[in-house]
């Protein structure tokens, strides 16, 4: 592996300054052009099944209960109870106090292959002391989470404390070690500029992220096409530089099959087909899954059914 920085704030600052800027008009234009790709028939049905496998089925509400978790676990294993040819989702994503019950439910329902992802480090704001963030992550790992979705300290990033952001990610990565995949949430809606998105993507990758993730889902805008495009360019370039393939997770605002397919087109044409699998691309979503199922039924039967033909959760 090529070491691009030594971890000091000085080296981070120097390195991130060498990154070329992102021209907003150009990035928006490229994303808009790719949104016109017309995905039909066989390629559409391939894309729908791929998107289902990429879904991190998510419930992140204050009102979450064990009952709610039971329901989404059942859905995660067999998204369509009438058609077992539908693949299971990529992961189930919950708050860390529900990790244990999620794991148990998945295991009991034939979903032992589905990882449990936990949001940690004082999700969604990241505003807590460092020991709290560490404990938050430890709890999730001890309860059986094999994917950790951490948030970065956006305040620190925006005020130029790059070393602090780097060290937090690095410490969480050390905790995860071989036990869990680390997804680093940039919360791009708070970073605002595409230059920041590119810099934060690199910062996270340099600190050891396995995935870079757009958003918490609690801030809008979230996974807009140009933001995902900038992040896909970052993982593509980082792979060329270091040989390490980092994944991307788009989360927030992806609700329809059309939205999901646009994301797959971005992956295909920006990062490349090597990223086009659940190991390297995920979509954080809840409502999306039902629309994917409805479109899948439409392709198979030739007509649309209604919302009562897919399960609530």
């Amino acid at each position: 592996m090529v070491t691009l920085v030594d971890g000091s704030e000085e080296s981070l600052r120097t390195y991130l300054k060498t990154l070329p800027g992102v021209d907003k008009v150009g990035a928006d234009q490229r994303a808009a052009m790719l949104a016109t790709r017309s995905i039909k028939t066989t390629s559409k049905s391939w894309a729908i099944d791929m998107a289902i496998q990429m879904v991190d089925l998510t419930t992140l509400e204050g009102a979450d209960t064990e009952g709610k978790v039971r329901a989404i676990c059942a859905k995660a294993v067999h998204p369509d109870p009438t058609d077992f040819s539908v693949p299971s989702v990529g992961a189930v994503c919950v708050y860390n106090d529900l990790v244990k019950v999620t794991r148990q439910n998945l295991d009991a329902n034939g979903g032992s292959h589905i990882p449990v992802a936990a949001v940690t480090t004082a999700f969604p704001s990241g505003r807590a002391s460092f020991p709290v963030k560490i404990q938050d992550t430890k709890d999730a790992l001890d309860d059986g989470a094999t994917e950790i979705d951490m948030v970065i300290d956006r305040g620190a990033f925006l005020s130029g404390k790059l070393g602090l952001v780097f060290d937090e990610i690095k410490s969480i990565k050390e905790l995860c070690a071989d036990r869990a995949h680390l997804k680093v949430i940039l919360e791009t809606g708070e970073l605002v500029t595409y230059d920041n998105v590119r810099k934060a993507s690199y910062l996270a990758m340099l600190a050891g992220a396995d995935f870079i993730k757009t958003s918490t889902g609690k801030v809008t805008p979230a996974a807009t096409a140009p933001v995902v495009l900038v992040m896909l360019e970052a993982v593509r370039d980082y792979y060329v530089q270091t040989g390490l393939r980092i994944g991307v997770k788009a989360a927030g605002g992806i609700r329809t099959t059309k939205d999901a397919i646009k994301q797959l087109v971005l992956v295909n044409e920006i990062a490349g087909p090597d990223w086009l699998n659940p190991q390297y691309f995920r979509i954080g979503a809840s409502a999306l899954l039902n629309d994917l199922l409805l479109q899948r039924m439409k392709l198979a039967s030739g007509h649309y059914s209604g919302s009562n033909y897919v399960t609530l959760d």
Binding site: V22, D23, V25, A27, S38, K44, A47, P273
Partner: protein, 482 residues
């Protein structure tokens, strides 16, 4: 894990949207007439060489009739009509073009070979936008700063090229009508169909007879129109070669002219550019419309210290260009417009090989029938190579390098042309400096091939006379206006 590549299944736009007549007459004085000169020629689909229709070759007597109709319409109707009424007709035409946008787009792609994505998203919306823009000017000419009550020329002869048939028609007809002129327009012989569809739009808009006349034919018809004594002004877009012929033939006749001719634009990438967007701009600059663009960024001039990085990214991007059926919504690069143009592109590319430049194209399967050329770049090009000097008018990019900003400008300006240029840099002061030094009519910074009806377009040196679009474009259709 499923490693199957994400193939895009064919997604063709429906051809049933257009009805093409087996043959067409000429549109003179508001109705379709058979040419007095009986000859017809075929217009074909360059993607598969299928004959689409038979087109009339207008002869001298036909040009006479068209010019007379335009003169009568000018003296009896159009010049007497209040300006705001002229504006209403233009608004009506613009709206009808929007309503029939899909029809125009499909027909344009069939006849020209350009991808439906471009005809649908660029050519047709921009054509309608030109009519909307100029419709607004019709009753405000007194306040345009072009003199007190500026007057139209009268009858304008307009000759347009095959690269953007309906868009060039709009660039020509909209300002001419807004300023009170009447028109005889000749579309290119390989792409007459959207102009003939536009004739239907004129009928639908109930435009007074003779205000717009559309005659078809080859260069002979064009030359007859240029030399016709009843024509007061010529507006031409096409090759520099033909532009020079026109300039010679109208010398001392008192006719005025606007000429939009060739180009060999420099697209300059500085080391501090936003590289990914610059790569997109390079691709858009040369592969948009198969490179059949007079302002195409056909000379890429890269700062030497980022040459390899840009080249690697450019090659990876070029491998994604989807070449094929122009009617497929996912096609990025369509067919070359004609056998003659394909031969010219091949000839110049072969010259590039012979002169020692290095050719590269991504792997791509070209259709068997029709006229096709893979997206191509030449590296190691020098100023003295033909492919750095002559307009190729195809999907072929010549790549040169520079060491200092001064050298970039010198190389960019070292051409007989001066239509457009591109600058890629994140440094504002450098963009302002370079745009002042570059001798080109249109300069894009951190973008390329952007067009707007409000923005004047035209060139320096052998790229032409006059400007089209904006307030400057109006001046070209008004007597004595500056």
């Amino acid at each position: 894990m499923d490693k199957k590549p994400f193939e895009y299944a064919p997604a063709p736009e429906s051809r049933a949207l257009v009805s093409i007549k087996p043959q067409y007459g000429l549109f003179i004085n508001g109705s379709w007439v058979e040419p007095l000169f009986k000859e017809k020629f075929a217009t074909i689909n360059p993607a598969n060489e299928e004959v689409l229709s038979k087109i009339s070759q207008a002869g001298k007597s036909d040009v006479d009739r068209a010019v007379k109709a335009a003169r009568d319409a000018y003296t009896k109707t159009w010049s007497k009509m209040p300006a705001k009424e002229r504006g209403k007709y233009l608004f009506r035409i613009a709206r009808i073009m929007q309503e029939r946008a899909r029809e125009f787009a499909v027909l344009e792609s069939l006849d020209n070979g350009k991808p439906i994505r471009e005809s649908r998203d660029v050519d047709v919306p921009l054509a309608a936008a030109h009519f909307f823009y100029h419709a607004g000017w019709a009753d405000k000419l007194d306040y345009a700063g072009l003199g007190n009550s500026p007057k139209p020329h009268g009858v304008v002869g307009q000759i347009i090229p095959w690269n953007f048939p309906v868009l060039m028609l709009a660039w020509k007809i909209a300002p001419a009508l807004a300023t009170g002129n009447t028109v005889v327009l000749k579309p290119a012989e390989t792409t007459p169909l959207t102009a003939l569809l536009f004739a239907e739009v004129c009928q639908q808009a109930e435009l007074p007879a003779g205000v717009v006349n559309i005659i078809t034919g080859d260069g002979v018809t064009g030359s007859t129109l240029v030399n016709h004594p009843g024509v007061d002004k010529i507006a031409f877009t096409g090759s520099t070669e033909v532009g020079k012929l026109i300039a010679r033939s109208i010398a001392v006749t008192g006719k005025s002219a606007t000429l939009e001719l060739g180009g060999k634009a420099a697209n300059i990438v500085f080391e501090d550019a936003a590289i990914d967007q610059a790569v997109e701009g390079i691709v858009n600059g040369i592969f948009f419309n198969q490179g059949h663009v007079c302002c195409a960024g056909s000379r890429l001039i890269i700062q030497e210290n980022i040459h390899d990085e840009v080249l690697e990214k450019l090659k990876r991007r070029m491998a994604l260009i989807r070449v094929g059926d122009p009617l497929d919504k996912n096609t990025d690069l369509g067919a070359i417009n004609s056998a003659a143009q394909l031969a010219k592109i091949k000839e110049l590319s072969t010259a590039g090989d012979a002169e020692g430049a290095f050719r590269w194209s991504p792997e791509c399967e070209l259709p068997k029938k029709g006229f096709w050329f893979a997206p191509t770049i030449f590296t190691g090009v020098t100023q003295s190579h033909r492919i750095a000097r002559e307009e190729i008018f195809g999907p072929v990019l010549s790549i040169l390098t520079f060491r200092t900003p001064q050298e970039a400008i010198e190389k960019a300006n070292n051409t007989p042309y001066g239509l457009s240029a591109g600058i890629w840099s994140e440094k504002g002061s450098r963009i302002l400096w370079a745009s002042k030094e570059l001798k080109a009519g249109v300069i894009w910074a951190n973008t390329f091939n952007k067009f707007d009806p409000a923005s004047p377009f035209g060139g320096y040196k052998e790229s032409g006379w006059g400007r089209e679009g904006g307030r400057h474009g109006l001046a070209a259709y008004l007597k004595g206006a500056k």
